[in-house]
Symmetry: C2
Subunit: 233 residues, 2 copies
DNA sequence: AACGTAAATTGCGCTAGCGCAATGAAGAAG
DNA sequence: CTTCTTCATTGCGCTAGCGCAATTTACGTT
């Protein structure tokens, strides 16, 4: 795997970095590939590295003592993950697990190395804080949603959010394609697979979406947004 | 209101600051007092300041378009709030509102001033990142809870968390006193006031807690933890 | 002490959404 | 082509928790 400096510049946290800095980061990092369904790290592992995804897809999940899981977010190429341990001291642990949805490759940057770099490069701290801030705001919004909205609205919202992050415009029939299973969506919204399936079916009947196996195609985004806002029927 | 440097040192974000730095911060800040029930800032306001609470109590809430509210967290003296705007550019807005639970005083530090300071003082960035990280982890945990746990468990958890953050050991009867209304608890857990009230009553019958108006006294923390973990009866 | 206001309780009905089980459909593997 | 596995659907019953309304209780005020 050959990674250029221009590639690294795509990472929001490194957008203000100098070539020399990027080079230094690259030289101190290693590249890891992980098979589909396997993990970059597990919840509770020592947070020795933070990662930047190069290819593939990774989902961050947290599980409770009973093993029930919630999907915190999905990571796409050139996004950073596992960064929470970077700022903490040496004994930090990952608060979530990172599982690949397909065979994936990522750059693993030693946490202590990034910490050292941040001491003298304030732009790095700022960009990382910006990332954290964005993440906090998204989490707060999702928390509010799950606390105040009905399942229907939450699922609609999740689909809209996914469409923005990873939707593929499928030209001819003017739909946005998402590659997620019902289980994925249920874990993102805190609903059951059954409820998700029922609603997907209902929306398909109304031709708001077109559903397939591990595939959802949004035909009428506007109708979805209506549902997300709680307009009944 | 006279604030000493030693007071400022109580703030986790300033724990590594030099006296000169603290002095500079203090000189560039103003002190604001806000009556009970009033706001330091509203959701959507321009984030010109970040605050450090000196006296009183402030709750951070977010509301959705229909006006339903969720309580994100409660702030106690010497904690920082409204800091998300500090790292963002000039046009940042507060993603939540800060309402006082009692007459409160806070130091208002201009966001741009802190940003300038952080450029040359990496310890500040680190400490602020630490705060953000803690906050993200707590939010993730609460998100998981609300997605996977029943109301009963969530309320038990909320009480336990409140006891750790702000509980007052009331000597003779060996209980931990909390000063929150049923409504507060309901907004923290995403349940209704009614459900909270019903469960509080039930737990009082089982003498796990002792309830009063805007007051909850935990008598048997162990039983509460059992409930929080989902052990039925 | 009497009054007014806001918080809390409780009963009752209802429904959104869960949980299970049975069945069907779509890929993957051989 | 057949078989296996995984994902998805759908019907049915059930219950946790919401929502409303009617009281009751606690506290601050005058």
């Amino acid at each position: 795997m050959n990674i250029s400096l221009n590639d690294l510049r795509k990472i929001s946290v490194f957008q203000h970095a100098t070539d020399a800095d990027l080079d230094l980061i690259l030289k101190n990092s290693i590249v890891r590939s992980v098979e589909e369904g396997e993990y970059f790290f597990l919840q509770g592992d020592e947070a020795k590295y933070l990662y930047v995804l190069v290819t593939g897809q990774v989902k961050l999940m947290q599980s409770n003592p009973n093993g029930q899981q919630v999907n915190l977010r999905t990571i796409y190429p050139w996004q950073m993950f596992g960064a929470l341990g970077a700022t903490r001291g040496e004994d930090a642990i990952y608060p979530a697990m990172a599982q690949t949805l397909e065979c994936s490759t990522a750059i693993a940057i030693p946490s202590h190395f990034l910490r050292t770099m941040m001491e003298t490069r304030s732009y790095l701290s700022f960009d990382l804080m910006n990332l954290m801030t964005t993440y906090i705001q998204e989490l707060q919004t999702r928390y509010r949603e799950i606390a105040t909205n009905r399942v229907e609205q939450r699922i609609a919202n999740a689909l809209i959010r996914l469409a923005q992050q990873s939707g593929i415009r499928s030209g001819k029939d003017a739909g946005i394609e998402l590659f997620f299973s019902r289980k994925d969506v249920s874990e993102m919204t805190g609903a059951t697979v059954f409820s998700v399936s029922r609603l997907i079916s209902e929306w398909e009947r109304k031709s708001i979406i077109k559903a397939g196996r591990e595939r959802i195609q949004i035909l009428d985004p506007h109708a979805l947004m209506q549902i997300a806002e709680g307009h009944k029927e």
